[in-house]
C-alpha cells in the first residue's frame, strides 16, 4: 500500500476540508479524484503530500508520515508556483540539485514534447508555465504522483499533449492521483475514480466496472454529485 488514510478529517478555521476519509492506494493505479469546487480534492492531495496535517485521523505514505517521505513523492499543486525569473534551465538546476531522482535527459525530452519555450516564466503564458511544471514533475521517478488539476487553465491541444505524456511516462508500479475538472477528457486514463462531495467520499469505483453498468465516469459524476 503506497498511501493509507484512516478516518481523516481536516478542519480549517472557517470550513471543513475533508471528513472521515478512509482510503487505500496500492501501487500501480491511476486514480481520478473527482468532485465539484470545494469538495476537498485539493485538501486530500495536500494531506497525502504532507503540506497539511489532519485534524483527526491518520495518514501514512510508504508506511511513514507524509512529510518524511517527500523525496519519494511528486506533488504538483494547483497554483502557479514558480519564481518569475526562472527559466527552464534554472528549473533544471533547481530540481537536479534538490531531487536525486530527477532525470535531466527525460526533463529535456518532456520540455520538447510539451513545447515549453526557453524563457523566464514571467514571459510565459499560463499554459506554458503549467507544461513546464508538469515537465519538472514527470522528470522525477517517484512511486507516487499527486497531480492537482494539472489540466486547469490549459488550452485544448496542450491538455491532450499532457494526457499523452502522462500515459507514456507512467510505469506499472507507480500510482498517480489526478484531480481534474476535465473529467471527460481524462476519463480514459483512470482505472479507478474517487468521487468527493462536501469533503466526504461519495463513491470509490473501478472505471471499467462503471462502464460495464452502462455509465461512463462522466455520467456517474453527474449522478453522484448533483
Amino acid at each position: 500500500m503506497l498511501a493509507r488514510l484512516r478516518d481523516v478529517t481536516k478542519r480549517y478555521r472557517t470550513a471543513e476540508g475533508v471528513r472521515d476519509l478512509t482510503l487505500d492506494f496500492p501501487a500501480g493505479e491511476i486514480v481520478g479524484v473527482l468532485g465539484l469546487n470545494g469538495s476537498g480534492k485539493s485538501t486530500l492531495l495536500k494531506l497525502i503530500a504532507g503540506l497539511l496535517f489532519p485534524t483527526t485521523g491518520m495518514i501514512t505514505v510508504f508506511d511513514r508520515p507524509p512529510r518524511g517521505v517527500r523525496s519519494r513523492v511528486v506533488y504538483l499543486g494547483e497554483t502557479d508556483t514558480l519564481w518569475p525569473w526562472m527559466t527552464p534551465e534554472d528549473a533544471e538546476r533547481f530540481m537536479g540539485g534538490l531531487y536525486p531522482d530527477f532525470d535531466p535527459a527525460r526533463y529535456r525530452e518532456l520540455l520538447d514534447a510539451l513545447r515549453v519555450p526557453m524563457r523566464k516564466t514571467k514571459a510565459m503564458s499560463k499554459g506554458e508555465r503549467g507544461r513546464l511544471r508538469l515537465a519538472m514533475a514527470l522528470a522525477r521517478s517517484a512511486k507516487l504522483y499527486l497531480l492537482d488539476e494539472p489540466l486547469a487553465g490549459i488550452d485544448l491541444i496542450s491538455r491532450e499533449t499532457i494526457l499523452t505524456s502522462l500515459v507514456r511516462e507512467w510505469h506499472t508500479d507507480e500510482t498517480i492521483l489526478l484531480s481534474t475538472h476535465e473529467v471527460a477528457e481524462a476519463e480514459g486514463l483512470f482505472e479507478r475514480a474517487i468521487y468527493l462531495r462536501d469533503g466526504r467520499l461519495a463513491l470509490d469505483a473501478r472505471a471499467e466496472e462503471l462502464r460495464e453498468r452502462g455509465k461512463s465516469v462522466v455520467e456517474t459524476f453527474k449522478e453522484v454529485l448533483s
Partner: protein, 263 residues
C-alpha cells in the same frame, strides 16, 4: 549536502539585486563623504565617521528587509514548493541566513576600508596592524554582536508569522514577538553588561589613540587617560559569545518551525 548548494544558488538568484544594491550604495556614501567641505579637519573627520555610521545602520536595516521576504513567497506558493523539497527546514533557514550574513560581512568589511580611507583623508596614519583590525576584526565583532543576531531574529519573526498565518491569525504571535523584544533586549543588555569583562577583553585598535594624538595633538591628561584605559580594556568577549549563541538558537528555532509547519 548537495541540496544546500542549490539552496544557496536559489537564494543568490532571488537576492542578488539586494546584494549589488547594498554594496553599490557604498559608492554613494563614499561620494557623500567626499562632498563634506568642513574646514576643520577634526570636524570633517567626525562628520565623515558619522556618515559611515549611518551607512552601517541603514545597511543593517536593508539586510533585515532582504532576509525577511517570506510573505511574498507564501502568497505565491513558492513556500509550498520549498517545503516539499528534500532538504530540511534547517537547511532552508541556514542557506537564507548564510547569504544574508555573508552580505553583511562584505558590507561591514567595506565600511572598515572606508574608515581607513577617511582616516587617510584626515592625515591620520594607521599602522598595518591597526589597518588589519579596522578592516577585519572590528567589522566582524561589530556585526557578530549586532547585525547577525538581528538578522536571525528577523528571520525567525517572519518564519513565525508566515507559519501561523496558515493555521491562525498570524499577527498575534508576531505582535507578541515584536512587543516582547524591547524588554528582552533590555534584559539581555543588562545581563550581558553585568558579566562582561569577567573574561579578559579583546584589545583592538591599540595603536589608534597614538595615531590620533600624532595627528590632532595631545588632548588633556584626563582625556588621554580615558582613551588609553578604554583601549586597554579592549572589547568584552562575553557579548560576542552570547550573541553568537543567541543567533544559533534563534536559527535553530526558525529551522524547527519551518520543518514542522503546514503550508
Amino acid at each position: 549536502m548537495r541540496g544546500f548548494k542549490t539552496l544557496l544558488w536559489l537564494e543568490h538568484r532571488r537576492s542578488w539585486v539586494w546584494l549589488v544594491s547594498l554594496l553599490g550604495s557604498l559608492a554613494f556614501w563614499a561620494w557623500g563623504i567626499k562632498q563634506v567641505r568642513v574646514m576643520d579637519v577634526a570636524e570633517r573627520f567626525g562628520i565623515r565617521a558619522g556618515l559611515l555610521g549611518m551607512a552601517a545602520a541603514i545597511g543593517a536595516l536593508v539586510l533585515c528587509l532582504m532576509i525577511g521576504r517570506i510573505r511574498a513567497e507564501t502568497r505565491h506558493g513558492q513556500y509550498q514548493v520549498l517545503l516539499l523539497t528534500p532538504p530540511s527546514g534547517y537547511a532552508h533557514i541556514g542557506a537564507r541566513y548564510l547569504y544574508a550574513a555573508a552580505t553583511a560581512f562584505v558590507y561591514a568589511v567595506t565600511i572598515g576600508f572606508l574608515c581607513w580611507w577617511i582616516a587617510a583623508l584626515a592625515g591620520i596614519h594607521l599602522d598595518a596592524r591597526t589597518l588589519f583590525e579596522l578592516t577585519l576584526a572590528v567589522p566582524l565583532y561589530a556585526i557578530a554582536v549586532t547585525v547577525l543576531p538581528l538578522l536571525a531574529w528577523t528571520l525567525l519573526l517572519m518564519v513565525f508569522i508566515s507559519a501561523y498565518r496558515i493555521s491562525g491569525p498570524g499577527w498575534i504571535p508576531g505582535t507578541v514577538m515584536i512587543l516582547g523584544t524591547p524588554f528582552a533586549v533590555r534584559w539581555l543588555i543588562t545581563g550581558v553588561g553585568r558579566i562582561s569583562y569577567s573574561l579578559p577583553g579583546w584589545r583592538l585598535l591599540a595603536n589608534a589613540p597614538t595615531a590620533l594624538i600624532e595627528r590632532f595633538g595631545q588632548p588633556d591628561v584626563e582625556g588621554t587617560l580615558q582613551m588609553t584605559s578604554v583601549i586597554d580594556r579592549g572589547v568584552p568577549i562575553e557579548p560576542l559569545l552570547i550573541m553568537l549563541a543567541l543567533t544559533a538558537a534563534l536559527l535553530a528555532i526558525a529551522g524547527r518551525i519551518r520543518q514542522e509547519v503546514e503550508a
